[in-house]
């Protein structure tokens, strides 16, 4: 039966609508503003006046200084700390979103126990009962206790964990998360030993460089210290006397750094080291640039065939020669190895081959050159040492062999971060007792017997030995900005309480609480820029200024290169045959969600990705030409299959990617981790295998091949920007003939 909507119906409906509007309008306005005065006011608080507290950001391992604006005891806004030597007042989107960790509605309030692992059936437990359970289990476990930490944990907590494990005779804590895995922290630091004779994270003085060759380093997006490199890049572009730095980005998929580069060269994945070697070869053969550079190039350039490299890398011989010439003749040339190099099977060699260009340039430790992060200013202060993948594999083996009686997981989410093939979740089944300190139930916490939620970083104490630190050594301070919003307990205090009952540990960890320990550690710092004397004053100024740093840059002796011969780079080997898996897989850390830890913050989920403007989704970036050949359009859900696993996600056709490459950002695909993260997109670690690189340092996440299968389904992409008139109907000029 069809019903005709008559004029009469229209009037009836209209009258009803108006009547309801009138009734709504007649209701007394209820605009109560509740004034909640303090029960006990802090001394420095004034009604209506904001108080700012200095602290340290914990959204990534870089350690930027932050200032948090509070009103009436509530944190309202996070900004960069202008005094802090690392970020000088700047802060990225991730840093700004930190408030949503503090106020996250999915945070646990109070300790919980899980009756059956994986059941998500959590029973509230009093803190006393929880601590008693923890104590009796850890005591019974003896020395078979393992602590698994994340890279963003406070230095004092890492120190306490270390002292605890040493006291009870347990192995040292393992520190591994996806962020450090994908940005290659451990591997880059270790590679420095071969180059400069010391372990340390590399730093690049981009501010004073004039030509920079970035081999896929997305230093403006994620990487080791993106906020600092943002400022460095600004200086790079506007140097004194109108000088402007020239950036060449070699990467298969255009990143935000590639988008601002002067030249973007879509290099074949895995060919970066080869190109670096070819550039050295050309400098040596054609005697480009100053004599000393040519001499060094002759020593360090391997026996590579430039024509073969051109074919293998899809960068023409002329282009290679141009790169070599501009590099060799520049005053301050710089070569930066990217994240993807650290995920190759020949990672250390690849990184060293790129760094060899810096050695050839002769600018190591000098203005506009490559040097190493300064070590901690005092041995009393520590920075969590990221474990190698070999350590992680060893630990999982121990778990499987029933050698681990208790596992404590702090600030890491290995069940999400590690490839399924590594068997972490399965190995957990062999551990009788698993305790998690996660404030929000994540993929690892659902396998825990006990969760003792820690306070979030805006509610807790700590310090951070900043690495990489640039001009000066920096120790960032961390202090509670607000009183805890949820019923959470500081893990440092939980550990100290636990240690009191274990005689060996009680001796080693004798502090009343973590603040007493922190004050003792901080008191051992040498004189800093904030001045003052006496522990109380030093401690107060440490909190007030957001950390410690020296008044002036220490005189640094440029490290001498220990590289004396050409690097032999084993050709990059991709997993999966070209016939079965025709596409290269290019994974990258999301600029917003980073390694997935940002997925529980709706501000980050809702912020459009800078390159694609996609929000809230995992997307598969494919070149429009490839998509056309496969008959795929934007929003078509495809199955990406690697030799290790598969993932389904919608396609976003993206012109700035090689036609033989598929790019997927990391960060989505959580099965837990709160309402904003859960059941959204896919976890790319399903595509990655358990194999470590040849040197055992890192996962082989950058040397995978995949195939694309259509599923026939289609979803709407959450795009901020329409493609009409931008890249719609794009004919790819960069890849003729494809």
């Amino acid at each position: 039966m069809t019903h005709k909507f008559t004029r009469r119906d229209f009037l009836k409906l209209g009258t009803a609508g108006i009547a309801s509007a009138v009734l709504a309008g007649c209701e007394m306005p209820r605009r109560w503003v509740t004034l909640e005065p303090f029960v006990r006011p802090p001394e420095e608080q004034l009604a209506g006046v904001a108080t700012w507290y200095a602290s340290t950001c914990r959204q990534c391992p870089a350690g930027c200084g932050i200032l948090v604006r509070t009103m009436n005891g509530r944190a309202l806004k996070i900004e960069g700390n202008p005094e802090h030597p690392l970020n000088r007042g700047k802060l990225c989107a991730r840093g700004q979103a930190g408030l949503q960790i503090l106020y996250n509605p999915d945070r646990l309030s109070g300790a919980v126990q899980q009756t059956k692992r994986g059941s998500r059936d959590f029973r509230q437990l009093s803190w006393e009962a929880a601590l008693n359970t923890l104590f009796s289990t850890i005591q019974a476990a003896g020395s078979s206790v393992i602590i698994w930490g994340g890279s963003t944990m406070s230095g004092h907590l890492y120190d306490l964990f270390q002292r605890f494990t040493a006291a009870i005779g347990a192995p040292a804590p393992v520190v591994f998360d996806l962020y450090t895995g994908m940005s290659g922290h451990r591997l880059l630091a270790e590679a420095s030993r071969d180059l400069l004779g010391r372990v340390g994270l590399p730093i690049y003085d981009l501010s004073h460089a004039d030509v920079a060759l970035s081999f896929g380093a997305d230093f403006l997006g994620t990487g080791l210290s993106s906020v600092r490199y943002g400022a460095e890049f600004g200086n790079f572009r506007s140097q004194p006397l109108g000088k402007r730095g020239y950036l060449v980005q070699l990467e298969p998929r255009m990143s935000i750094t590639g988008a601002v580069a002067d030249r973007w060269l879509p290099i074949r994945p895995g060919a970066e080291a080869m190109v670096a070697q070819a550039i050295a070869r050309i400098i040596a053969d054609q005697s480009l640039g100053p004599v000393d550079r040519v001499t060094r190039a002759r020593t360090l350039a391997g026996n590579v065939d430039v024509n073969a490299v051109a074919t293998a890398s899809d960068i023409s011989v002329e282009e290679l020669q141009r790169l070599a010439r501009s590099f060799a003749t520049a005053e301050h040339p710089l070569a930066i190895p990217g994240d993807a190099l650290t995920g190759q099977d020949n990672a250390t060699e690849a990184v060293t081959a790129v760094q060899a260009l810096n050695i050839i340039a002769g600018t190591v430790g000098q203005s506009g050159g490559f040097s190493l992060s300064t070590p901690a200013p005092s041995p009393a202060l520590v920075k969590p040492v990221v474990s190698s993948l070999a350590d992680v594999q060893k630990l999982i083996e121990q778990m499987r062999a029933d050698q681990v009686k208790a596992l404590m997981v702090y600030g890491a989410n290995p069940a999400y971060d590690l490839p399924e093939e590594m068997g972490f979740t399965e190995a957990l089944g062999h551990v009788p007792f698993v305790v998690s300190f996660a404030p929000i139930v994540d993929e690892t916490a659902i396998w825990a017997d006990l969760i003792l939620p820690d306070r979030t970083y805006l509610e807790s104490w700590g310090y951070e030995v900043v690495a990489p630190s640039f001009d000066v050594p920096v120790v960032g301070s961390q202090q509670p900005i607000v009183t805890p919003v949820f019923d959470a307990r500081s893990t440092g205090d939980v550990l100290l309480t636990l240690a009191k009952g274990i005689p060996a540990a009680a001796k080693a960890l004798s502090w009343a609480d973590e603040v007493a320990f922190l004050i003792e550690s901080i008191g051992q710092l040498p004189a800093g820029a904030a001045g003052g004397s006496g522990v109380d004053v030093l401690w107060a100024r440490f909190q007030q200024h957001g950390g410690w740093w020296p008044a002036s840059s220490p005189v640094s002796v440029p490290p001498a290169s220990t590289l004396s011969q050409a690097i032999q780079v084993t050709p990059t080997r991709f997993e999966g045959s070209e016939q079965e898996y025709p596409y290269f897989l290019h994974l990258y850390l999301s600029n917003l969600l980073s390694d997935g830890r940002g997925a529980n913050q709706p501000w980050l989920q809702g912020s459009p990705d800078p390159m694609t403007t996609v929000a809230w989704q995992t997307l598969v970036e494919i070149n429009p030409n490839t998509a056309h050949q496969l008959g795929i359009q934007d929003g078509d859900v495809v199955r990406i299959t690697s030799p290790h696993g598969e993932l389904e996600a919608p396609v976003y056709t993206f012109p700035a990617i090689r036609p033989d490459t598929v790019a997927i950002p990391v960060g989505q695909g959580h099965s837990d981790y709160g309402r904003y993260a859960r059941n959204r997109g896919g976890n790319v670690m399903r595509l990655v295998g358990a194999q470590a690189g040849a040197q055992g340092g890192n996962l082989n996440w950058a040397t995978l091949r995949v195939k694309i299968t259509r599923t026939g389904r289609k979803v709407a992409l959450a795009l901020f920007e329409n493609k009409t008139g931008v890249t719609e109907g794009f004919v790819n000029q960069a890849f003729p003939g494809q």
Binding site: A21, G25, M28, R31, W32, P37, V39, P41, A47
Partner: protein
């Protein structure tokens, strides 16, 4: 000649006029509810504790004794529960309203007072400037709170009222400037 309007036409006209009145009326009410502070509706019927200002003033306690921040901050602020208890641990402990305060203190909870005087969010108003620099008494804006039991709004704090006073000042040209209040 008589103009005749047939019956249905007339009803349509009356209906139309009514519709217009109702629409405009409801729009006004809706907007009024949204944009105005509707001060009278803020009356203190819903205060969690029937706080008696009169007694405090009769006992010689100055406004600024409790609303201390008025002379050093834009907001006058509400006294903390701790401040109330500073005296009422020993004074008036048998009075029911004071016992209510003690209950909040024992639970360590803030008292959820309801705001009595409201200016819209787009208005910048500083107590400090008015109390310290201009030397105004609290009564000038808040009425004779000393003779009220539970505080109630007596002034409709709108722009005309603000300007009424600003216009009388020797530096009226400056005080008339929009950005004085709409910063």
């Amino acid at each position: 000649m008589r103009v005749t309007v047939n019956s249905s036409r007339r009803w349509l006209l009356i209906g139309g006029a009514l519709l217009l009145v109702v629409t405009l009326g409801s729009t006004y009410l809706f907007l009024a509810a949204k944009t105005q502070a509707a001060p009278v509706a803020q009356a203190a019927s819903g205060q969690p504790i029937a706080f008696n200002h009169q007694i405090m003033v009769q006992l010689g306690i100055q406004c600024l004794f409790c609303h201390t921040d008025a002379r050093r901050s834009p907001a006058a602020g509400m006294p903390s529960v701790e401040k109330c208890m500073g005296c009422h641990r020993v004074i008036g402990t048998n009075v029911p309203t004071i016992q209510q305060v003690t209950d909040y203190w024992n639970r360590q909870q803030p008292i959820p007072w309801r705001r009595v005087n409201v200016v819209p969010r787009f208005v910048y108003y500083s107590h400090q400037v008015h109390v310290v620099a201009a030397g105004l008494n609290c009564e000038r804006c808040h009425g004779d709170v000393g003779h009220m039991t539970v505080d109630r709004p007596v002034v409709r704090m709108n722009m005309g009222w603000c300007l009424g006073c600003h216009e009388q000042q020797p530096n009226a040209p400056q005080l008339r400037d929009c950005i004085v209040c709409h910063q």
